[in-house]
């Protein structure tokens, strides 16, 4: 019998707001233990939650990016459970009226295009972290992450393979990064995933027994886990190797296996109820419209514009739309230099390769697009040689405040229009390179390149290659 896998995902994404969801503590990742905490996010009594409006902005924006209906009145609820990293022993989340419902995400795989339905997106606070100290045989709690805003994106069980799951996660990442609401870096834990999976005979409309794997934090692990679980379920159905039960399982990436979690860890009744301290958030038309107006152009829309209006090749456009940071840098550079093809070339062959070499993500690009445009213009106008232009770009990676025009002047990268100087240098080099000149005269064309190179070096690169070539060959030929 042939089987199909039915997968639904719950994806947790940390929102990139400056402060936490219910207090004004810094929400940034990476501080020392318990440096970003206050009485509120440490669960001390007496502090009352005040909703960070930015979180609602971002939640709505995420919902709109995923084609969701936005609930105009959205409420917060308490979810109770005991865990040392949860200081109040409840998490404030959205259970009854989440910010966004009923959306879709379009994906494309080797099997074609598919629309994945989104059940809901809800906003909630993150929990802290336990740090186990093996040497001291003790556990410490770090509350920095407590109350950092999250959204949980719940899909319908519309996915059927590891390939589709990967495409879906990549698409989510791209949309949320385009909207600048989240970093979505699984390696930083700013994107985490619960996988709900069941298996059924192909064509059946009845769902099989569902298992859930929690807190998956790499796409490779997710793909691996899906393959493992699918095989385990089929084995159980076909060969009766075990009885499948609805349960939460833990994926062990090292062993390459999933394990049933202790019943105690999963059998909780979360006792959801509306948080009386947080008034319902009412999203009026003005608020809704302002968020809608702030939505970015989608990657496909950019692709169409780049190829149709700006005349870029499909390859170039595909490269640029990989990241909103690349698009923005490109668009700003193009606005200054006026040549889309040139701007795209600089982006793809220079900037993207530098980022790749430095093992930086495209989103980490911090070059100012306007400055890049000025640099491209200097090179286009023949004021700075291309090789020197690359040096200036390398400097701009180190110091984003560099202004290319001033920097070129200050560092002697400006082309010389002084043909007298070029002629003088040519004469000096010819005098010094007797052997190469003799070789050239003797018919070795290659020798010309070394003389040319030495001249360019003496001129510090500040000469239009065509001008140098003309003066050099003229001088040699006259000899």
């Amino acid at each position: 019998m042939r089987y199909e896998t039915v997968i639904g995902l719950e994806v947790h994404v940390e929102l990139a707001t400056k402060s936490k969801i219910f207090c004004s503590c810094n929400a940034k990742y990476g501080a020392g233990p318990n440096e970003h905490v206050c009485p509120a996010c440490c669960g001390m009594p007496g502090m009352l939650p005040v909703v960070n409006k930015r979180v609602v902005d971002y939640g709505m924006k995420a919902g709109m990016m995923l084609n969701c209906h936005i609930n105009r009145t959205t409420t917060f609820d308490k979810k109770s459970y005991y865990y040392p990293d949860l200081p109040c022993a409840y998490q404030t989340t959205q259970w009854f009226a989440p910010v966004a419902v009923n959306g879709t995400v379009e994906i494309e795989t080797s099997k074609g295009k598919k629309s994945v339905r989104i059940k809901q997106i809800h906003m909630e606070e993150d929990a802290g972290k336990l740090v186990h100290d093996i040497a001291e045989d003790t556990t410490h709690v770090d509350f920095n992450r407590t109350s950092v805003p999250l959204i949980e994106i719940v899909s319908q069980p519309d996915l059927s393979s590891a390939e589709e799951v990967e495409a879906y996660l990549e698409r989510l990442k791209m949309l949320l990064r385009y909207a600048k609401v989240a970093e979505c870096a699984m390696e930083h834990g700013t994107m985490r995933c619960d996988v709900n999976l069941s298996v059924r005979p192909e064509g059946s409309d009845k769902l099989g027994v569902r298992t859930e794997m929690k807190n998956m934090n790499s796409i490779e692990a997710i793909k691996h886990a899906i393959e493992y679980e699918t095989a385990r379920h089929i084995d159980a159905i076909e060969n009766g190797t075990e009885v499948l039960v609805q349960e939460t399982r833990r994926w062990d990436d090292i062993k390459g296996k999933s394990f049933a979690m202790r019943n105690k860890e999963t059998a909780g009744d979360y006792r959801y109820f509306p948080d009386p301290n947080v008034m319902p958030v009412v999203i009026d038309d003005a608020w809704f419209d302002s968020i809608q107006a702030s939505l970015p152009e989608l990657p496909e829309e950019k692709f169409a514009r780049y190829t149709e209006e700006l005349g870029l090749s499909e390859y170039d456009a595909t490269q640029l739309i990989k990241s909103i940071a690349l698009c923005e840098c490109f668009e700003a550079a193009y606005a200054v230099c006026g040549n889309a093809k040139d701007a795209a070339n600089w982006m793809i062959s220079e900037i993207m390769s530098i980022l790749n070499k430095r093992q930086m993500t495209y989103d980490m690009l911090s070059i100012n697009g306007t400055a890049l445009g000025e640099l491209i213009k200097l090179v286009m106008d023949g004021k700075v040689g291309r090789a020197n232009g690359k040096k200036i770009l390398a400097a701009m990676f180190e110091d984003t405040t560099i202004e290319p025009v001033a920097y070129a002047e200050a560092n002697g990268y400006v082309m010389s229009n002084d043909t007298g100087l070029v002629e003088k240098v040519v004469k000096e080099v010819i005098a010094a390179e007797e052997k190469a000149v003799a070789d050239y005269k003797g018919g070795k064309e290659k020798a010309l390149m070394s003389i040319f190179g030495r001249c360019m070096k003496e001129l510090k690169g500040n000469c239009d290659p065509q001008t140098l070539r003309t003066i050099l060959t003229d001088t040699l030929n006259k000899m």
């Binding site: 001390m44 009594p45 007496g46 009352l48 109820f273």
Partner: protein, 398 residues
């Protein structure tokens, strides 16, 4: 027996004491519970800041029953305050001692109002949202209110004016205009209703106090009518559900991990939780936690908790209907004029039945003023008018 859990040396003409549900930076706050014995807050409650800004010195902290859900403070881990077997209340005793303008405390389940009633003092529980709850120990957040107890309506009003006002740190805080309305005295109480279902079951002395208040009001031209409205007496059960559920959730943070009492007897995290809470919490609180937890279970949520939320609306509508014709409801605060240690020994859950009289205003957040051993419940923002009317019978209780 101590009425103060902490005391300052402050000597001032204008001295106020806060109860031990209100957090203070300089003095410990224990909420009457062994769980928080010696707990030092990192910040002052908003009401403490406002009192100080208004020129009041904070004289100390008055003891309370554990998380303020009992009758009069008898469940405090400091011991039951009593005199010859009669329950006494720390805040009321401090006021009667003199030298203090008012005691500002949390009215969670009516204990402030009961203390004022059995001691012939005056108290005001203002409209929900007009006084910030920032810095108060959370128990039943949807209805608990910072309240003022004093010897006279005028003193209550003076202190209420100092603490009322909008606070950005409390998401349920009302606008500055609404808070100002609560301390205006332009309206007047002209027509008062006595709801029959709320007066049944009171003892003879309480009935006498009601009659005295009625007579005093009538003598001053206030029309007093008896009406039928049975829904208000259902507030008790609905409030017990909401209060216990919220309490269960709010006190779950006291787990022995971060601060407060920690059991010495544990080998793993589950034992740390269970033993710390078992050893530190008292019986009434434990009962409320278990009851509250049950009302929120998946099985019971719609059957119990959701129904209580609906009851809250029904009761608010019943009050609206009364206030379409009347300015206030005159009602008892408790069934008796005194309670004994025997009473609470015989019925540990007395405060969950005697709150028949206090729950209607707790669940709706309506303002209520206690004077002369009885209470006037009014429409939202009418506490100024209620206090003015209470002056007509505040001496009746003495």
């Amino acid at each position: 027996m101590k009425f103060y859990t902490a005391k300052t040396d402050a000597a001032a003409d204008r001295m106020v004491v806060v109860d031990d549900m209100i957090l203070t930076k300089e003095m410990p706050t224990a909420a009457g519970s062994k769980m928080l014995d010696g707990y030092m807050s990192l910040f002052d409650a908003e009401v403490v800041t406002r009192l100080q800004q208004a020129g009041y010195a904070i004289g100390g902290k008055a003891d309370v029953g554990e998380f303020a859900i009992d009758m009069l403070g008898e469940t405090s881990y400091n011991g039951t305050p009593e005199a010859d077997g009669t329950l006494v209340n720390a805040s009321a005793e401090i006021l009667k001692e003199g030298g203090v303008t008012a005691v500002v405390g949390m009215d969670v389940n009516g204990s402030v109002r009961r203390a004022a009633a059995v001691n012939g003092l005056v108290s005001v529980k203002p409209t929900y949202g007009t006084v910030s709850r920032y810095g108060t120990i959370p128990v039943a957040c949807s209805g608990e209110t910072v309240s003022v107890m004093a010897k006279s309506a005028d003193e209550c009003f003076e202190v209420l004016k100092a603490i009322a006002g909008h606070d950005d740190k409390d998401g349920t805080s009302l606008s500055e205009e609404q808070c100002a309305a609560a301390t205006a005295q332009d309206a007047k109480v002209c027509r008062v209703a006595i709801v029959k279902s709320l007066t049944d079951g009171v003892d003879a002395q309480t009935a006498e106090k009601l009659a005295a208040a009625k007579a005093a009001l009538s003598a001053n031209g206030v029309e007093v009518c008896e009406i039928e409205e049975t829904k208000l007496s259902a507030a008790r059960i609905a409030w017990n559900i909401l209060m216990s559920a919220e309490l269960c959730n709010n006190v779950s943070r006291y787990d022995g991990v971060k601060y407060g009492y920690r059991s010495q007897n544990f080998t793993n995290i589950d034992e740390l939780y269970t033993n710390s809470r078992t050893e530190a919490f008292g019986d009434l609180l434990k009962t409320a936690i278990l009851f509250g937890s049950d009302t929120l279970s998946t099985e019971n949520y719609m059957k119990v908790y959701d129904k209580a939320l609906r009851m809250r609306r029904v009761i608010a509508e019943a009050f609206d209907a009364i206030f379409a014709q009347y300015d206030a409801v005159l009602a008892p605060v408790c069934a008796k004029t005194a309670y004994t240690t025997e009473d609470v020994k015989a019925d540990r859950y007395l405060s969950f039945t005697e709150n028949l009289y206090t729950a209607p205003a707790s669940i709706t957040g309506l303002p209520t003023v206690v004077a002369g051993g009885v209470q006037l419940i009014g429409k939202a923002f009418s506490e100024g008018a209620l206090l003015a009317a209470a002056k007509l019978f505040e001496k009746e209780g003495e």
